[in-house]
Symmetry: C2
Subunit: 474 residues, 2 copies
């Protein structure tokens, strides 16, 4: 494979270039021939498959069923919910022809599928006893982007979009928050990304939603990443798409809907949180290869026999042997670049002493382990790596989180560092527009677990409604 | 849910209408708002998920890795392989705008992705030791259709497309056939569709391929369905896309490529082979629900307790309880319409006698089974159902297979029945064009296991090259 063999740019020197170097060196993607598109290579796609497998099982446990809705949406249909179309219009990829024939009506490639689900639900449901309907799909969506970055901002991306419909406001709101909890738990326990749960401000909420909830994570460089969102639509889409059901009193009522999604951006989040100057660092649960076994000398039969025995011993892990014809140093550094949590080395003297060397990817620590203790040590080390990666990210966030109550201090701090800034805020769109224009920061969320004191907006001085996190964001 | 409650049209009376009735009554799909698009509802999508799970594991066992390539292909790129673009041009869905901005170059929505993989491979490979690359993706593709039918012919469909590249002709050809074997085994053992393996004629082979191999199945009504294809491209795409590698002598050589796919058409094949006038009939391995347990009286606590115990006992199967508020008859017929292989009924007298009633979907046979023997009987019955469904389909094919050697007998037979007709054929495109125009039949495949005798073409009288199966086909 043509590998970008360029040395990885130091993370402290140029974070953006470091990111691109990691993505290419770890063999996650290639650039597609159309601007802004990327190809998920096997190693990159395997990460997404692991994300899918774990989340999909979690959704199903909560009664969600998978479906598949069409890629193309007619213009008329899309225009039914005005706020929604406005939110997407500049990014919408439009089909006008088939073969040489111009279509009677333009078709949009889905940037998201609320309107299709809305139309479907309006025909599907009759009575309250058929509700809720809890649907999800794993699909590609398109939103044209001027400047693109692998995983973080691409014209086409992969995601799951859940769409549910309920007979009561309370049930729909609870479900919106239940999904947020599933996302938060997945981010923290599996991806090892510390996240803050909260609600989006008026300016940042999803086009057409009544309430948008989010999990926000802070990257190594102090910029925030929105990792997943869950939207409560109230009856907005039901009214636009005429989704009615007969309630227990046999009266027709508009239904309540939600939608929620996470995307391949999560892979970008993983990289920007855990990786280092030596390459990718992957959380054990999500790593396509959890353990790479290296015979120091890859044409020594005794070593080859030993590594195969070891692979069998470790069969419950995703464990591979690198016995390619490259030198040991190259193979060891390849395992490092690819972020494989544990590397096990076996040389001739190890065979004599019935031991192996285990190297941790996160700390570079190497330990000698006797043959009989390998399984126990591997299990412990993988747990320790998970704990360490999460703690490291949490420490970084703590160091970069500041409580600020006036705009001049805010700007002064921003000039020195990126981070998460908790500020009293009025909640007005105009005020947030100005802040964004002046500082390139946006509100990330109104956190759930922070009590509001009566105070004034850090920017405009009007009464504050909430304490809100602001940050520069990807 | 709004269920199409219309009675199912009898299969012998109107096969096409029967098919549509089954698809809608079994709740597999809904029609999408854009012409020719369908929505996979949860029950329909779950069948596809089961197909994916089994085939994906099989591909991976054979070293294939999953990837994801972009949806959009530029016009220039697509036009690089002339025969390929001609094969698809009238069906290609074309993007010309983003928002209000007209694009500099038109983009095509993939009808298949050979050209993207070709471009990628040309940049990716250098030496022979990096080959083969064995890639696959599970994606949506679009081919615009004038007349559409759920699963069988839709403008958008889901499929997997494998793309591989090899350093020798022999290896590529062997891999093409290995995949054909995987498809054939999956069709026969899992979907219980008897298939004939063979090669496509010149007229029917894939646009741009040197050789196309296929598995062909015969539906209940005697029309054939192509269930999967595997293409050997030789160096055609390598020459069009400049895919070269340095061989063992360090000389640059064009690589050899293959592609192969199965799609959601397989679900149509399942329906048209196994289902009957009472609804869907599903093979046990692929059924989203393998066993439906019905308490005869759904508000009797003893029965409810018993069905829950039974579900626990049968935990290794996909087993559900229907305790909805509908009457027993409705629930039993619902399990039938949905093609659930086994239905287990428990009433009050069964509780007393420590027994259950088990009903087979395929034969409608009902047997009384004592509580202690349930697991053994369920396991045996599921095996028997599989054997029976396959045998039934095979019998139908045998009855509808005829060896014919002249065109007048061919037309006479076709006037009486649809079926699979083995004929001596010259292999010429013009000859096949005429046959198609006159009889609406096409060649399905040149079977592997039939020896060729020197004889003359059943249609034109020129020397025959092979014995070939012809049929009307979906």
């Amino acid at each position: 494979m043509k590998r970008n063999l360029k040395k990885i740019t130091l993370r402290e020197i140029d974070f953006a270039q470091w990111y691109t170097d990691i993505v290419l060196n770890a063999d996650l993607i290639a650039y597609g021939p159309v601007k802004g598109t990327t190809i998920f290579k096997p190693y990159g796609y395997a990460i997404w498959e692991n994300i899918q497998k774990i989340l999909d099982a979690e959704f199903k446990k909560n009664g969600v069923k998978n479906v598949y809705f069409p890629l193309l949406i007619s213009k008329t249909l899309f225009n039914k919910e005005k706020e929604h179309i406005e939110g997407f219009s500049p990014e919408i990829v439009t089909v006008t022809k088939v073969g040489n024939k111009v279509l009677d009506e333009e078709l949009y490639i889905r940037p998201t599928s609320e309107v299709l689900f809305g139309t479907f639900f309006s025909k599907e449901i009759q009575g309250y006893h058929e509700l809720p309907l809890l649907y999800n799909q794993w699909v590609n969506v398109l939103r044209w982007e001027k400047t693109t970055r692998p995983f973080l901002r691409t014209s086409e991306f992969l995601w799951q979009e859940g769409h549910t419909i309920h007979s009561s406001k309370q049930e729909a709101q609870q479900f919106t928050l239940k999904i947020l909890d599933i996302y938060a738990t997945f981010a923290e326990k599996t991806l090892l990304l510390p996240v803050i749960k909260g609600q989006k401000t008026e300016r940042e909420k999803f086009a057409g939603a009544e309430e948008t909830y989010t999990i926000e994570s802070l990257m190594y460089d102090g910029q925030a990443l929105q990792c997943g969102t869950s939207h409560y639509f109230g009856q907005n889409f039901s009214k636009a798409f005429d989704i009615k059901f007969s309630n227990q009193k046999n009266i027709l009522e508009y239904a309540y809907s939600t939608s929620w999604g996470v995307s391949t951006r999560l892979i970008g989040g993983l990289i920007m949180t855990h990786s280092d100057d030596n390459g990718l660092v992957l959380p054990p649960q999500i790593a396509p290869i959890q353990i790479m076994i290296l015979p120091i000398n890859n044409d020594n039969d005794d070593q080859l026999f030993a590594v195969e025995q070891l692979q069998k011993k470790l069969h419950k892990y995703r464990c591979e042997i690198d016995q390619s014809d490259k030198g040991f140093g190259f193979r060891a550094s390849n395992a490092e670049i690819k972020g494989i949590p544990l590397r096990i080395e076996i040389g001739s003297s190890d065979l004599v002493q019935q031991q192996v060397i285990i190297a941790r990817r996160d700390t570079f620590e190497k330990i000698t382990v006797s043959w009989t203790e390998i399984e126990k040590v591997v299990s412990d080390l993988l747990d320790q790596i998970a704990t360490n990666l999460y703690q490291r990210a949490l420490d970084n966030r703590h160091q970069r989180t500041k409580k600020i109550d006036n705009y001049s201090e805010y700007k002064k701090t921003l000039a020195k560092m990126n981070g998460l800034f908790l500020v009293p805020f009025c909640g007005r769109i105009e005020c947030e527009d100005t802040i964004k224009a002046e500082t390139q920061t946006t509100s990330r969320c109104i956190p759930f677990d922070v009590s509001t004191k009566k105070t004034t907006c850090f920017h405009c001085g009007q009464p504050a409604t909430n304490l809100v996190y602001f940050a520069r964001a990807y």
